[in-house]
Structures are given as structure tokens and as C-alpha cells.
């Protein structure tokens, strides 16, 4: 047997992220290459965003103040929540497809590559169609920021930037823990949808109207109120409702730590279950 020549011994190996980049770039190219499909997807995703906004607007069409906020003010909540959810959905929303990946054997193929499984899953696809929906969220946010009286300072700018980053991270973690739970559930995706998509719905709401169980569930367990509602209150200089003081708006990094710890724990449990032959 001769000495096999290994690639890494000659020349410079590509960087650590080259593999992920190559997959993502190919996904983007292939989505844009089906032109008519892509246009359909872009427009339907814009309509989804508009309908979600209409849902909120219809209620304010009946009353001027709901849960202590006017429609102008709630635009800020809706804008942050929908923008960040759409971005998370764009990057990791396909984690929803884990049951399909398992059935098609795609997950087994991930095992044959020298990269962490979860990172491979997260970077295995990207949904550019969500861009338009993120655009609706961004527009709402920009309008919300300009028509409300906000006392701009370094700390408000910092808060806004921190919120956008943390809220996106929180929504992404929601997709990840849901994927971990999919290893155990067969045909039970609706169970996790209740919290992932229910969480998005909750995040666009004024949490002041919530009952105590909802405040526990979507205020702390899945920290949806921290993604948009509380930061918006802080920006507007409004006090929080009982149980949700507005200084919690600065605690989003803690919420990120908690929800990602939960997500990674669920993912590990799921993978262990799969390797244990339950998959």
C-alpha cells in the first residue's frame, strides 16, 4: 500500500466556514433560478406580513387604545417582533422540516460530514422569500419610530440595537428547540407550532392584556414579551403592566441565554434519542 496523499498536506485548506458558505450560496442561487416560483413566494410572503398587520389594525379600527397602547405605538411592537421573527424564519425556519429530513435520510448524510449536526441543519437552507415579510416588519418599525415621540439618546439607540439582535436570537432558538422535540414526535409538529408560531403572535401583542398564565408562558418561559413589547414601552417611556416592569427590556441578553440553553438542551436530548434508535 502506497502512502496516500492527503489534500490537507498540499496548499492551503479552505476556511472553517467555507462549507457552510458554499451550501448557502447554492441554496440562494437555486431559489432565484426558479424565477416565477420565486416571485410567487416573495409576493405571498408580503401578503402574509400585511395580513398579520391587518389583524392588529382591525382591532384598533374598533377602539383607540388597547392594552394601554395606541395603534401608532403598537406599530413599534409589531415592527420589531415581525422583523426579527421574519429574519429568524429566513435563516433557520427550515428546522421545521426536520421530520422530512429524517424520513429522507438527509440527517444520516449530515452524520457523514465533519461539521456539527445542528450547524449543518441550520445552514442547510435559507428562505429568501421571507425577505418581503421582513420588509413589512421593517417598514412598520421605521414608521413606528418616526411617528412616535421617542426621546433619543445613546441608551435608546443601544436598546433598539440590542433588542433587534436579541429578539432575532430568541426567535431562532424557538425553531431550534422545536426541531429537537421533533425527534420524539411523529406527526406532532402542531404541538411545537403552538409555541413557535403562537409565540410570534404573542410577541406582536400588547402583553398588558394577558392573563397571569399567559404572562408566565410568553413572558418568561418563552420570553416573547421581551422581544418587542417591553423594549417598545421603554423606548416610549411607558411603564410596564403588573408583573412585567419595563426595565426588563434590558434583560433580553439573559433571555437569549436562557432560551438558547433550553434550545440546545432539547436538541441534545433529541439527537440522543435518535442515536438511541428511536428515530
Amino acid at each position: 500500500m502506497g502512502t496516500p496523499v492527503h489534500f490537507t498536506e498540499i496548499g492551503v485548506a479552505p476556511g472553517r466556514f467555507a462549507g457552510y458558505r458554499a451550501v448557502l450560496a447554492s441554496r440562494m442561487r437555486s431559489q432565484r433560478s426558479y424565477r416565477s416560483n420565486f416571485i410567487t413566494d416573495l409576493s405571498s410572503s408580503a401578503v402574509v406580513g400585511l395580513i398579520e398587520l391587518a389583524e392588529v389594525w382591525l382591532l384598533f379600527h374598533q377602539v383607540t387604545v388597547l392594552g394601554g397602547l395606541t395603534f401608532r405605538q403598537v406599530l413599534l411592537v409589531f415592527g420589531v417582533a415581525d422583523l426579527c421573527f421574519s429574519i429568524a424564519d429566513l435563516f433557520v425556519g427550515h428546522c421545521d422540516n426536520l421530520p422530512t429530513y429524517i424520513r429522507a435520510g438527509t440527517l444520516d448524510v449530515f452524520y457523514l460530514r465533519p461539521q456539527p449536526l445542528l450547524l449543518q441543519l441550520m445552514t442547510s437552507d435559507i428562505s429568501l422569500r421571507r425577505l418581503t415579510r421582513a420588509g413589512i416588519g421593517l417598514a412598520s418599525l421605521v414608521i413606528g419610530l418616526s411617528i412616535n415621540e421617542i426621546h433619543w439618546s445613546t441608551s435608546t439607540v443601544l436598546l433598539l440595537a440590542l433588542t433587534l439582535v436579541c429578539a432575532t436570537a430568541i426567535f431562532a432558538a424557538m425553531f431550534v428547540w422545536a426541531a429537537g422535540v421533533q425527534f420524539f414526535l411523529i406527526q406532532g409538529a402542531e404541538f411545537t407550532n403552538a409555541f413557535v408560531y403562537g409565540g410570534r403572535y404573542a410577541a406582536t401583542q400588547t402583553a398588558a392584556v394577558w392573563s397571569t398564565p399567559l404572562k408566565v408562558l410568553f413572558g418568561f418561559v418563552f420570553p416573547m414579551a421581551l422581544t418587542a413589547y417591553l423594549p417598545a414601552l421603554r423606548l416610549l417611556g411607558l411603564p410596564g403592566p403588573a408583573g412585567l416592569p419595563n426595565w426588563l427590556a434590558w434583560c433580553t441578553p439573559l433571555a437569549v441565554l436562557w432560551i438558547w440553553a433550553f434550545a440546545l438542551g432539547m436538541w441534545r436530548l433529541g439527537v440522543r434519542h435518535y442515536q438511541g434508535g428511536g428515530g
Binding site: 405571498s44 401578503v47 395580513i51 391587518a54 379600527h61 388597547l66 411545537t192 409555541f195 403562537g198 410568553f218
Partner: protein, 269 residues
């Protein structure tokens, strides 16, 4: 229709009903989703009623609750995503095999799907309504009439959703890709069916658009009849509108099936 064909569709309906019993976990997941969304809607819509001064467009807290839990409960039985197995069978050409069977493809499809949908009422609608009414209370009619007419209206709503989705599928005889229409259906159906907000809260122009589609007949009208929000002649009027949509969608579906089948046989799909 010759003597004895009706039992065939009844049996397909029952078969669809029985198929669903195999997925208890899926049903449980659906129920959890109904309850989560239900309680979030309770929070928002109750607050809206209260902010408007105890009543908004005729909805009190009690009737709003009835609307929320009935519509959440029906969610597992009304097709609001536009997807149906038949669409794939048309795309792959497998539908040619279906045409060889001595049953009407349209009626068989609708009957099977409706059977599945009616089954879903048991694990999803009943617990949703029960848990909702125990947790937050709801105002329901005290006379039997709305329930009797409501049952007819509910069944009609379920069938209309499938006879309409059937139309989305058979367009596949002419279009290579029906995905765009299916996605469009999915995006607008829930909104116009009154899933997110009752359509009577819509401004008049938006209400007019909604009423020009079959979607309110799938969910909003059955809920209005069942909760006695609409009573008497007006209730019969809503059921009449539903049957008009049912007849129209079935007729158009039948014509498209006949022409599509001919195209399939002449051009080989």
C-alpha cells in the same frame, strides 16, 4: 347516479373518519395549538370588547368567547391550507388510475376528506370548546334551533372548504405548477374565513371583498349560526348562501374534472 352509489361515498366518508383515529398524537398537538392561540385571542379580543365599552359590533365578552373557541375548534376540520393529496396525483399523472375506478373522483375525494374533517371535530372542537367555556365562560344559545341549523351549516362549511380546495387541485390539469394558487389560497382563506378577527369587525369595503369569496361560508357563517349571532330568516339566508357556494364549487369542479379528464386521455396528461 344509479341506485346504490350513495353508500359508496358514505363508506369513503366513514373510511376517512377512521383513518384519522390512527394519529392521536397529531390530534393532541393540534389541540394544544388551538388552546394556545385561543387564549391569546381571548386576551386581545376581550380587551377590545372592554375597551369599546362592553360591546363591539354586537359582540359581548360572552359571544366573543363563543366565536373564539368555536372557530379554533373548527380549525382542524376546515381546509385553510389549500393542500390536498389529489394535487400530487394530478401532477404525477396517477390520477389516471383514479379515473378507472367506478366512482366519481370529485365526490370520492370530497367525501373522504370530509370524513377526516368530521372526525377531527371530536378530538379538537369538543375539547377546545369545553376547555374554553370552563376557563373563560361563553354565551351560547339556550334554544335547540340554532344548534340544529348550526349543525347543517357546520357540515356545509366543512364540505365547501374541500370542494373549493378541489378546484385548486384540478387546475393542475392545465398548469404545471399549482403551488402559487395553493399558497394564495392558504394566505387569504383564513383571513376572509374570519379566523383571526370576526369579519364583522372589518371596514365595509373589506367586508364586501370577503363576502364575495366562499371563505366566510367555511367558518364565519357556521359560527354565526351556531352562536345565534344570526337568527331566524337571516340565519336561513346564511345557510342558503353556503349551499349556493357548495353548489357552485361542486359544479365548477365537476366541469373542470370532465374537461381535464378528456385532456388527460387525449394528450396523455
Amino acid at each position: 347516479m344509479s341506485h346504490g352509489t350513495l353508500p359508496v361515498y358514505w363508506r369513503l366518508f366513514v373510511a376517512g373518519f377512521q383513518q384519522q383515529t390512527a394519529y392521536p398524537l397529531a390530534m393532541f398537538g393540534g389541540l394544544v395549538a388551538n388552546l394556545t392561540f385561543g387564549f391569546l385571542k381571548v386576551a386581545m379580543l376581550f380587551a377590545t370588547v372592554r375597551a369599546a365599552g362592553a360591546s363591539v359590533q354586537g359582540y359581548t365578552v360572552g359571544t366573543m368567547s363563543a366565536y373564539i373557541w368555536l372557530s379554533q375548534g373548527m380549525l382542524g376540520s376546515i381546509n385553510l391550507n389549500g393542500r390536498i393529496d389529489l394535487a400530487d396525483r394530478i401532477k404525477t399523472g396517477d390520477v389516471a388510475v383514479d379515473f378507472l375506478r367506478p366512482v366519481n373522483v370529485q365526490l370520492a375525494t370530497v367525501a373522504t376528506e370530509a370524513g377526516k374533517a368530521v372526525f377531527a371535530l371530536i378530538p379538537r372542537a369538543v375539547p377546545s370548546v369545553a376547555i374554553g367555556s370552563l376557563a373563560v365562560g361563553m354565551t351560547m344559545p339556550r334554544t335547540p334551533a340554532p344548534y340544529l341549523l348550526g349543525a347543517v351549516s357546520l357540515l356545509a362549511g366543512i364540505v365547501i372548504s374541500f370542494s373549493t380546495v378541489y378546484l385548486v387541485a384540478v387546475v393542475g390539469f392545465w398548469l404545471i405548477e399549482t403551488r402559487g394558487i395553493q399558497i394564495f389560497y392558504m394566505v387569504v382563506s383564513g383571513f376572509f374565513a374570519g379566523l383571526f378577527v370576526p369579519i364583522s369587525l372589518f371596514p365595509s369595503w373589506l367586508l364586501a371583498i370577503a363576502q364575495a369569496t366562499p371563505f366566510p361560508s367555511m367558518m364565519m357563517y357556521p359560527v354565526d349560526v351556531l352562536t345565534a349571532r344570526t337568527t331566524g330568516a337571516a340565519a336561513y339566508g346564511l345557510v342558503g348562501v353556503q349551499f349556493a357556494w357548495l353548489g357552485a364549487t361542486l359544479l365548477v369542479g365537476h366541469l373542470l374534472t370532465v374537461v381535464g379528464r378528456r385532456k388527460l386521455e387525449v394528450q396523455g396528461g
